[in-house]
């Protein structure tokens, strides 16, 4: 059996064209068509084929033909990265006996591109005189022109990551697959882990974590404000209900409030009963997520600049051409979000829940649940036992990839949710904010194994007599800050440590029964350096205080003055 199984009607796919271009197909239809390079072909041959099978576009450009043996010329991955090394010699001396008309005729005849290439070689007056390497080069050049290979891939987190980085690196903040791989290692993400994710990379980090868990453990896709946690990449995977069951969405603020509520009951034995009472805030918040997601995402995009808005608009115009849907899947997704609600941040806010109107907005997004099992993608409610577990013990992995949020503030905010010895990894395309966060954590003495690293990746061309690194490559995969949370000695019993955390985090504010939450300072009491302090005013956001004013640049002094005096 093939390692990745076979392609079914309704599957999502990543299309790999000539090993150099990746695109998405969502919900493959057996009787549909799709775009492959410059051709539009029927999707029928894909159904029932194993993921990873090789197809060739027929020379007439209208259909796919399965290739059952590895191409003899080993050029399924056609690269063209040669520096012209033969400066001294002109090369426009090829004598091709086939005329352009004959070649066009061949193409129209429906012959496979590889056959045309063979004919071109045998009709070249100079081909036989060339060296072996020159012949190889010649074939590759012609193959690039006449053959289109297609490989349908299973949409794994790796493939989605490569495709995103390839198509729209700025929308995943340049997070490259090798950096993501290191992030998952440093986070110690594995089956059974309880993973807290805060990200703004199209759900890529969330998707990777869900994949690694294999149905055991918990992944909380956390949202900080009214913008829903992105789940685009999760939706692109063919997850079964068990795999998907680990994922839930929640507001950071609800988690913090619930954790405080759990801790107030003190004594670990009482917690299981305490949870149901405390849970509603989180669960309600999670329920809202699905409904406000489209609007929230749209608001997020509007906030991110014109480019994406333009992309979405452009794709919206093309939506009619369903043949292009595969090629444009990602943009279409954005357009869908846009059409789901009126545009603009106000609309995003308007679509948000009101205290009484939460329940009726809890429709799943239409049709996303491909196999009907479990809830749709729109409602990632936490399973009570998973929620209980993360609230009592804390998350043991933490993956942050929300670069527009200063990492110092973000770490401060979610810190109480992490278990002692929790591994965390923070991604950013910039080194400087991570350096500031590292300095901050170093000062706080609440974390060890602090490292700031950049993943460096270099692909090589390995060909006879032509081995060298690729001539162009990705310039950056971003930076990672990582570490492990520790707790001071005076807080030996776990519960006490947590209680201490939360008491200082939530200050003297009352329990979250009322609609207005407390504005609290999430100042770490650990290490005896800080002191918790709440201002008791019902302002609608978390104010994260700073241990050291310098970490934030110009505004920090003002902020500090404002917050604490």
């Amino acid at each position: 059996m093939a390692a990745d199984g076979v392609i079914c009607d309704g599957d999502h796919l990543v299309l790999d064209v000539n090993g150099e271009k990746l695109s998405f197909v969502q919900k493959l239809k057996a009787n549909g068509t799709m775009r492959v390079g410059k051709y539009t072909v029927s999707t029928a041959p894909l159904i029932g084929a194993p993921f990873g099978a090789l197809f060739e576009v027929t020379a007439d450009g209208k259909s796919l033909q399965r290739v059952l043996l590895p191409p003899a010329d080993e050029i399924t991955r056609i690269t063209d990265t040669e520096r012209d090394n033969s400066n001294l010699f002109d090369r426009n001396t090829e004598n091709q006996k086939l005329t352009q008309e004959q070649i066009e005729e061949l193409k129209k005849s429906g012959k496979a591109g590889s056959e045309i290439v063979d004919l071109l070689c045998s009709n070249s007056a100079t081909f036989e005189k060339k060296t072996e390497f020159a012949q190889d080069k010649y074939k590759r050049r012609k193959a690039k022109k006449y053959i289109t290979y297609l490989t349908p891939r299973k949409p794994t987190a790796r493939m989605i990551s490569e495709a995103y980085y390839d198509k729209c690196p700025e929308r995943v903040w340049n997070l490259r697959h090798d950096t993501l791989a290191v992030m998952l290692s440093l986070g110690n993400v594995a089956a059974g882990a309880k993973v807290l994710v805060v990200e703004h990379c199209l759900g890529l980090v969330t998707a990777a974590a869900v994949e690694r868990l294999g149905g055991q453990g918990a992944v909380c896709a956390t949202q900080l404000d009214e913008r829903a946690a992105p789940l685009d990449a999760v939706r692109l995977m063919n997850l079964d209900p068990q795999q998907r069951s680990v994922l839930f969405t929640a507001y950071a603020s609800s988690l913090l409030k619930d954790k405080a509520a759990v801790e107030r009951c003190e004594g670990l034995a009482a917690m299981t009963t305490a949870v149901p009472a405390a849970a509603p805030a989180t669960i309600a918040a999670a329920a809202v997520t699905g409904a406000s997601e489209a609007a929230g995402e749209q608001a997020a995009q509007a906030d991110d600049g014109k480019q994406q808005a333009e992309e979405a608009a452009g794709a919206g115009g093309e939506e009619a051409k369903s043949a292009d849907a595969a090629e444009e899947a990602m943009e279409v997704d954005a357009a869908t979000a846009a059409s789901g609600s009126a545009a603009g941040p106000d609309a995003g806010a308007g679509a948000g829940p009101s205290a009484g109107g939460q329940q009726q907005e809890r429709q799943p997004r239409g049709g996303d649940g491909r196999d009907g099992g479990g809830g749709g993608y729109g409602s990632f409610m936490p399973r009570p036992e998973a929620l209980c577990s993360v609230l009592v013990s804390g998350f043991d992995c933490c993956l942050l990839a929300h670069p527009k949020m200063h990492p110092t503030a973000l770490l401060d905010a979610i810190w109480p949710l992490l278990a002692p010895s929790a591994t965390f990894a923070v991604y950013s395309p910039w080194a400087q904010p991570l350096a500031e966060a590292l300095a901050h954590l170093q000062g706080s003495r609440n974390a060890v194994m602090l490292q700031l690293q950049e993943s460096w990746l270099r692909p090589h061309q390995v060909l006879p007599a032509r081995t060298h690194p690729h001539m162009t490559c990705s310039g950056s995969g971003g930076y990672l800050l990582s570490g492990i949370k520790v707790v001071p000695p005076e807080a030996t019993p776990l519960a006490a440590a947590l209680v201490q955390h939360l008491k200082s985090a939530s200050g003297g504010a009352a329990a979250g029964g009322s609609g207005a939450g407390p504005a609290v300072e999430a100042k770490e009491a650990a290490g005896g350096e800080g002191e918790g302090q709440g201002d008791g005013e019902g302002r609608g956001r978390w104010q994260v205080s700073l241990w050291s004013g310098q970490d934030f640049g110009s505004w920090c002094l003002c902020l500090h003055v404002h917050c604490s005096r």
Partner: protein, 403 residues
């Protein structure tokens, strides 16, 4: 059954936090500094000793992983007790061979498409560094078959897997894979194969036999000539998507730096004598007025005291630890920051007189911030000077899907 993998712990056991606290038999990573860690297995009578003191294992039982613990008998020493991860294990394991590090390990796990349930073959086992990461990736339902030529290493690795509670997930066997290939019983069974051998090309045919269609291959080779031969063998054995990567992690050092922002008119003797050094002046001002600037500085001063108390520890940590420099520098910078802060606060009121005393001459009354424009404090980062320049090439390939 030890605590190496989260999936071995009772994950739904919300009522007790036993999986998050240290118990008998657990592997604990004792952290003294980023380059000074040890693996310790908790036993009823066990003791951990280092230069800072003696710690009874028993006193650690029941504490949560991640705790800072103080040496027995009121010693000043302390260490952190961390939950083991494959990454920490890579830092503490006994090197029986050269090992793979984080960048390559992460890339291998990602590019081999490992996930819970995968079956992966590895040769050779070596020090078992990569093996732990492979096990983590395929647990709880997959399996790692790892092979090693050297009998002693097989024994050591098997003992470690036992101790770490991984025996259900990994099988280690002695075998000369370069000579004999993988066992026939594994044909058609593997989702992925990893080779770290001097002659990986000799094993490509066997790997092809073991891999399912669409299965992933990875070979690690330090030299390009090995890569070239392996690539040829892969092409000849029905592999496709043959891609060679190098990957490294570039480490950055983080410091607090003070950058000057004022060019001084240095040929003015009078001015020069009075202000020999901006920073020195700032420090003097801060020191002179530290007592007065009590509200702002007291907390910082207490911290400084605390740090002085921890000095012995800090010194010891610094030895032989590059990373500890960062901590030390950080401490210094904090002290500076405290001084500057104190100076600023002092300058606001009581400090003003002092300052004017120093800046004799026809100066305008100094404002609150008069000392500040001379420099700017920043957190700076730069790549570490000594870096790993190369580990090896990773050749990835995919078994062609014929059927």
């Amino acid at each position: 059954m030890s605590n190496f993998l989260a999936c071995n712990a009772p994950v739904e056991d919300g009522a007790s936090s036993s999986s998050t606290t240290i118990k008998q038999g657990d592997c604990v990573i004792v952290y003294e500094g980023i380059n000074s860690m040890k693996a310790v297995y908790i036993t009823p009578k066990g003791r951990f000793e280092n230069r800072f003191g003696v710690f009874r294992h028993q006193s650690w039982v029941g504490k949560p992983f991640g705790s800072k613990v103080i040496a027995d008998g009121g010693g000043k020493g302390w260490v952190y007790l961390l939950r083991p991860t494959p990454e920490l294990w890579t830092q503490v394991l006994r090197h029986r061979t050269q090992i793979l590090y984080l960048a390559d390990i992460s890339m291998v796990v990602m590019q081999l498409d490992l996930r819970p349930g995968s079956v992966v073959l590895e040769s050779g086992t070596g020090s078992g560094s990569l093996t732990h990461s492979l096990v983590r990736a395929v647990a709880p339902t997959g399996h790692v078959h790892t092979f090693e030529f050297h009998a002693g290493r097989v024994e050591d690795a098997a003992a470690e897997f036992q101790q770490h509670g991984l025996t259900q997930l990994v099988t280690v066997k002695q075998r000369d894979i370069m000579e004999n290939g993988f066992p026939d019983t594994l044909h058609g069974q593997a989702d992925a194969v990893f080779l770290d051998l001097p002659g990986p090309w000799k094993v490509v045919a066997s790997a092809a036999a073991c891999l399912r269609p669409n299965g992933r291959f990875c070979g690690f080779s330090p030299c390009i000539e090995q890569v070239q031969r392996t690539s040829e063998a892969l092409s000849a054995n029905g592999f496709t998507d043959i891609l060679t990567y190098e990957c490294l992690l570039r480490e950055y050092e983080v410091h607090r730096e003070t950058l000057t922002t004022t060019v001084r008119l240095a040929d003015m003797p009078a001015a020069k004598r009075q202000r020999p050094n901006n920073r020195a002046a700032a420090q003097q001002a801060a020191e002179a007025t530290a007592a007065a600037a009590a509200e702002a500085a007291v907390a910082e001063a207490e911290k400084a005291d605390a740090e002085a108390g921890a000095e012995e520890k800090g010194e010891a940590e610094a030895k032989g630890e590059e990373k500890a420099e960062a901590t030390a520098a950080e401490g210094e910078a904090r002290a500076e920051a405290a001084e500057v802060e104190a100076g600023a606060a002092a300058g606001g009121a009581e400090g003003k007189a002092k300052e004017e005393e120093k800046d004799e001459g026809p100066m305008p009354p100094p404002k609150r911030v008069s000392l500040l424009p001379a420099c700017v404090q920043t957190v700076s980062c730069r790549p570490s000077l000594e870096a790993r320049g190369h580990t090896g090439y990773l050749i990835f390939a995919r078994k062609f899907v014929c059927g």
